[in-house]
């Protein structure tokens, strides 16, 4: 029975990308290639540790980082609404214990990134000359225990969050807290570097009572007896936590939905602003998109993440000097624009799903629809980058009026370029986004593709910056920036016309893709 459930889940995952087999294979290879490369680097890092003491510290740090990753990724999925729905399987004659097993195995099968890194850790340990041949097989045991511990806690946490996060506002709040939590290690490291007397991160995570410390001791000694006792306690706690949360998830009934009608008048007036400058149907479309996207859990999660997640990247600019420090706001805007991709411009019909047929059935032109969607995306992009720039100012990151103007120009030009590419991608590879359901690694692949496209999109702007850096001429910089803006405008017009033609010629395919049915076991 468990095999059948797993088989169904894997088949579902494999068929998730539709018929674009080559693209799927390419993205699959890119994604897992990236994680394999990371695992390989981890293996090299650990293999080259010269003393047993260094190896212990290295392994402890690696396990701690892996634990964070392992818990963080499923938590992210939970806050975007992704979770196996075991209640759906209750109709079949399967015991709760077996269902629990299936739940754990599915989580393992659908999240291979962390186990890949763990394999890198194992390879690094085995290749390290400090680990004796006789110990090689033994070190696998604590690593397997670590895998099981993480599976149990990640599953338990997700089930717990799924219940706690039923109110929509709660999800955004929790995602903010999780982001801050995940940023704690780099922020603490920054504090350690720049604040005298600040205790080191390592000191904070190396207490004997932590699970990762116990497992390092179990693997490399010398306190193996104490380590066994501590590890046993942690494993028992993780199992009990995961099992109780699983049982609660099985019995969980979401509370009745609340009414959305009572909204503050400023909120309603703000949403009606497009009508002041635009006419219907364009104004109505922009208004609908702002309202519609803004209510998506996935969008809210990304938006809230966008408020903090760049801090570790930008904060060094507060203490540094030179080009990177001066352009902290620019990096921030750049990162934030990428972050918003999947929930705004990258798959612009995604959230509409089956309702996309309304766009074809109602008496409005596709040009108006696409323009309305683009304007709404631009509003959110400018809003988030605006907030991020204001945060930079508050955090003390250097920001002169000139740099502010540059950041604004950069944001507008890059946004227009990204929206141009997004329009083409949206009509060529439309995918329904189920706000309440798994983003799966399809969402991650979309982000990965964005990383590939992004260098091309910022290329004209990079030229302007390079010209200023090497020629030392602000006039040349402004001229090239102006040129980049003109190019962005032309590219947008061409991409827009092409997207309109494709939206018409691929109408049936788009409708078919967007009305794809039930995702199966994941709900």
């Amino acid at each position: 029975m468990i095999r059948a459930i797993l088989g169904a889940q894997v088949r579902m995952l494999l068929s998730a990308g539709g018929r674009q087999v080559l693209l799927r294979a390419l993205l699959f290879a890119l994604w897992y290639g990236l994680w394999t490369a990371l695992a390989f680097s981890l293996h090299l890092w650990l293999a080259e540790m010269e003393t047993r003491h260094d190896l212990e510290r290295g392994l402890m740090s690696a396990l701690f980082a892996l634990l964070l990753l392992w818990q963080f990724l499923p938590l992210m999925a939970a806050t975007s609404g992704s979770v196996l729905n075991p209640a759906r399987l209750l109709v079949y004659p399967i015991s709760t214990a077996r269902l629990f097993m299936a739940d754990l195995l599915i989580r393992l099968a659908t999240g291979l990134e962390a186990p890949l890194l763990l394999a890198g850790v194992f390879a690094g340990l085995v290749r390290n000359s400090q680990v004796r041949l006789a110990e090689c097989a033994w070190v696998a045991v604590p690593l397997l225990l670590f895998l099981l511990f993480n599976l149990l806690t990640a599953a338990g946490l997700r089930n717990l969050l799924e219940r706690l996060l039923t109110p929509r506002w709660m999800r955004a709040l929790v995602i903010g807290l999780i982001t801050l939590l995940a940023m704690a290690p780099p922020l603490l490291a920054l504090a350690e570097k720049h604040l005298p007397g600040w205790p080191s991160v390592f000191e904070r995570i190396s207490g004997w009572f932590w699970p990762w410390t116990a497992l390092v001791q179990l693997a490399l000694g010398p306190d193996r007896l104490l380590a066994v006792a501590v590890a046993a306690v942690w494993m028992a706690l993780a199992t009990a936590f995961s099992w109780t949360q699983f049982l609660k998830a099985l019995r969980f009934e979401p509370p009745a939905a609340r009414q959305d009608a009572a909204k503050s008048s400023w909120h309603l007036r703000a949403l009606q602003l497009p009508s002041l400058v635009l006419r219907d149907p364009l104004a109505a479309i922009v208004e609908k998109e702002l309202r519609f996207i803004g209510r998506m859990r996935r969008f809210r999660s990304v938006f809230v993440m966008g408020l903090f997640i760049w801090w570790p990247l930008a904060l060094p600019g507060r203490h540094g000097e030179g080009w990177a420090a001066e352009n902290g706001a620019l990096f921030t805007c750049s990162y934030v624009l990428m972050l918003l991709g999947q929930v705004t411009y990258w798959n612009t019909f995604g959230f509409d799903r089956g309702a996309v047929q309304a766009w074809y059935a109602w008496p409005v032109s596709m040009a108006q629809i696409l323009a309305g969607k683009n304007l709404a995306s631009l509003v959110y992009m400018l809003l988030l980058t605006g907030i991020a720039v204001a945060e930079c100012r508050l955090l003390g990151i250097p920001l002169t009026p000139g740099k502010l103007a540059e950041a604004l120009a950069f944001t507008v030009i890059v946004s227009v370029n990204l929206i141009s590419v997004g329009n083409l991608v949206s009509v060529r590879f439309p995918k329904p986004i189920h706000d309440e359901k798994a983003g799966g690694w399809g969402a991650a692949r979309a982000q990965l593709l964005l990383f590939v496209v992004y260098p091309l999109v910022v290329f004209p702007l990079a030229m302007a910056y390079l010209a200023r850096e090497f020629a030392g001429s602000d006039t040349l910089f402004v001229l090239l920036l102006g040129f980049a803006a003109v190019v962005a405008g032309v590219v947008y017009w061409i991409a827009f016309q092409s997207a309109l033609a494709t939206a018409q010629s691929r109408k049936e395919r788009i409708l078919q893709e967007m009305t794809m049915g039930d995702p199966g076991l994941v709900a």
Partner: protein
Amino acid sequence: METPTPALAVSGLTKIYGGRAVVDRLSFSIPRGSFFGFLGPNGAGKSTTLRMLTGLIEPASGEIQVLGLRMPEQALEIKKRIGLVPEESLLFDRLTGLEFLEFAGRMYGLERGAAVERARSLLDLFELSKDSGRQTGEYSKGMRKRLSMAAALIHNPELFLLDEPFEGVDAVGARLMKDILLDRVRQGSTVFLTSHVLEVVERLCDRVAIVNRGVLVAEGSPADLRRGEETLEDLFVRLVGGERAFGKPEWL
């Protein structure tokens, strides 16, 4: 006196998927003011035909005239004059019922104020007022169908194209929808309806067409098509070949 153009006229309508004609040279005409039932077993090509009539998909060949206008050449003009309830939902699930109807109204060219006013009265009519502030994604299937029907009515169209409009709707809601449609027909509108519920079609429709595997097998008034004491269900089963014996597996 000039004869009015039919509400809907199709000729030689064909759609091919994977080398197979799912709609095969379909021809029929519906006079204005008719309540027309379009019947057929699962996979007969009913929804495909309806999607071609609304311009959602293009036919491989054949001609479509809606309210005297040619589809797809005059698609925009046609869309302004038809009300559509498709099989899959048209609803944007993160808009509330009221917001969705207001938006639909504005898409059909109504001013915001008028759209809101009509939306409220339609929500009242379909007994959805108390849920007007809830997002449509949280509606039950029946409520979603009722809201779709309300959206199809908001611009007071001349022709309704409805794909299984009563599916999932409770008896009270279905009765309400039928009464509204009958009233619209009395006012001169035309209804094109697909449904699996033959009793409903028999009670409402003055004309029916039956398709099987994409081919039109019968067209006319239910009374003309039936033989003797035959019901519409008997007629349907006879025409689409459902009386054949099924081979039961040994273990069943």
